[in-house]
């Protein structure tokens, strides 16, 4: 700063030539790209959908705790409830950084089908329906979260949208851990052909609504099927 020394006479007082500190702006191992698929507005829209859905998920998990008789599952849901609340909080903090100063304005479902999905997922309440409760979360919703977040992370600008990527990476770690927890709880509960049928039937019912919704952020949640990926 304020140094007027010419680049040609950069010798130290002792006479030794100083080693150059000039480097390329990106290290050879840093292969991040500038272009990304999402504008600021599109990113904010997706983030708003994520926040709305994460909220619905943590509310459902919190509400179900009292309805589940299996003690170990009751406790796990308490921990998972907080994970998703934290995700919603991360997205709530991100929205104003994406020029949305009233985060609640974009905290909305992608479409009517996703609202119907949440209603169908949260419908089971009776204590004997733990399998259905867990199937909705761990075999349908969380896998869709993982795919939507992964698509977003892999397609947004690695430089301009680094804060979103950082949040997604933290969130994905939780999602994978919770998915594994949930799948193990389900496998321990599904012990008869009748249980298998119940789980499969409920999963198919919910998956059909999710397909209609097009995923957590609507059609294009994980890109398109067209040759250019749009």
């Amino acid at each position: 700063m304020g140094d007027t020394t010419s680049t040609s006479d950069a010798a130290s007082p002792s006479g030794a030539t100083a080693e150059s500190t000039a480097r390329a702006p990106f290290a050879p191992w840093d292969r991040r790209d500038l272009p990304g698929m999402f504008s600021v507005a599109e990113t904010a829209r997706r983030v708003g959908n994520y926040k709305w859905t994460e909220m619905k998920l943590f509310e459902a998990l919190g509400g179900w705790i009292a309805t589940i008789p299996e003690l170990d599952i009751k406790m796990r849901l308490g921990a998972h409830c907080y994970h998703h609340a934290w995700h919603a909080d991360l997205w709530n903090q991100r929205l104003p950084e994406l020029r949305e100063m009233k985060p609640e304005r974009l905290t909305v479902p992608a479409n009517d089908a996703i609202v119907r999905f949440i209603e169908a997922m949260t419908e089971p309440e009776a204590p004997e329906l733990t399998i259905e409760k867990l199937v909705g979360v761990y075999r349908v919703l969380i896998p869709h979260f993982i795919s939507a977040y992964t698509y977003h992370r892999n397609n947004t600008s690695e430089i301009t949208d680094a804060p979103t990527i950082r949040s997604i990476n933290f969130i994905l770690q939780d999602e994978f851990d919770d998915w594994r927890d949930g799948e193990m709880m389900l496998q321990s509960l599904i012990t008869t052909p009748e249980h298998v049928q119940r789980a499969a039937s409920h999963q198919a019912k919910l998956e059909a609504i999710m397909v209609e919704a097009g995923g957590i952020t609507g059609p294009g949640s994980i890109g398109g099927a067209s040759p250019d990926g749009s």
Binding site: A66, T67, K74, P124
Partner: protein, 290 residues
């Protein structure tokens, strides 16, 4: 899933036996002491406080730990319900602030860990799940349709009681030479102070422009506090089973006046109970004379 969930429908496996506050108050037996373990008055300690030298210390500690565990289950369920039951909004009507919902989700995780801790401690102390009855009063306090009453009844009154109980269990662990118990209680105590502070802060914030609602909430808190004065078993006086942990209560947002009020509730209940015993003894003596 329903918006509000009644206490009668709390889901438990077949090992648990539930009772409510009305049944508990109608039962004149000491709930801390199983029938098979009941001893003569002579073998009991003169003090009500839980100390390792009491002949009944082991059973009392096991019973108390089981009570803590089922209380933590209900606290987990209550926090989860509050995260679920109210829409995010400005705090008026049926809404609560988004950040309060997040705090309730965080509390659910904390309470889940407390269930894990107390289940392991119970096992360590030789207790089986369901060995003692479960009083559902904590969840009853979490069933109000007004979220502010839940904050007052659960986060301030009952979690405040947890501060007193955990402080005593921590001391008991220290006196009994059980660092495992002392260590765990110390960690749970840290969380409880956080939960009470959360309740104090949110109660103040949400009722900032609604003094009537705040008054109603604080009155409800006193009702719960009185219910849990256990006939004078909680307070600063020497005869109390649970001493008020004033230092930790201050950290959690209780004022000196509030702590004095809780202490007075305990003293009043203690005097009422002694008066009732005296009257019963006089009636029995009169009956014997006649």
């Amino acid at each position: 899933m329903r918006q509000f969930f009644p206490v009668e429908d709390l889901a438990r496996d077949e090992r648990f036996v539930q009772t409510n506050m009305a049944e508990r108050l109608a039962d004149t037996r000491d709930p801390m002491e199983p029938e098979s373990k009941r001893k003569s008055a002579k073998s009991r300690s003169a003090s009500n406080r839980l100390t390792p030298d009491r002949p009944d210390a082991s059973d009392r500690a096991r019973s108390l730990m089981h009570g803590i565990m089922v209380g933590e289950i209900q606290a987990l369920e209550g926090a989860g319900r509050t995260a679920h039951d109210f829409e995010a909004g400005d705090g008026s009507g049926d809404t609560i602030p988004f950040e309060l919902k997040l705090d309730m989700a965080r509390q659910a995780w904390d309470e889940a860990r407390h269930v894990e801790i107390s289940a392991k401690l119970g096992d360590w102390m030789g207790t089986e799940l369901g060995e003692f009855q479960e009083n559902t009063v904590l969840f009853e306090a979490a069933c109000s349709n007004d979220p502010v009453l839940r904050l007052a009844g659960v986060n301030r009154a009952l979690e405040g009681l947890a501060i007193d109980v955990f402080t005593q269990m921590k001391e008991f662990g220290d006196m009994a030479g059980d660092p495992y118990l002392e260590f765990c209680e110390d960690w749970m105590l840290a969380d409880e102070v956080t939960h009470v502070k959360m309740g104090s802060d949110w109660l103040r914030k949400v009722t900032e422009k609604d003094p009537d609602r705040r008054t109603k909430a604080l009155e409800f808190q006193q009702v719960v506090d009185k219910l849990f004065s256990f006939g004078g078993a909680r307070g600063d006086h020497e005869e109390s089973s649970f001493k008020l942990a004033r230092r930790f209560r201050e950290l959690a947002g209780f004022t000196d006046d509030e702590n004095d009020t809780i202490n007075k509730l305990g003293v009043d209940a203690f005097n009422e109970r002694n008066q009732a015993i005296k009257q019963a003894q006089e009636a029995a003596a009169a009956f014997a004379d006649a």
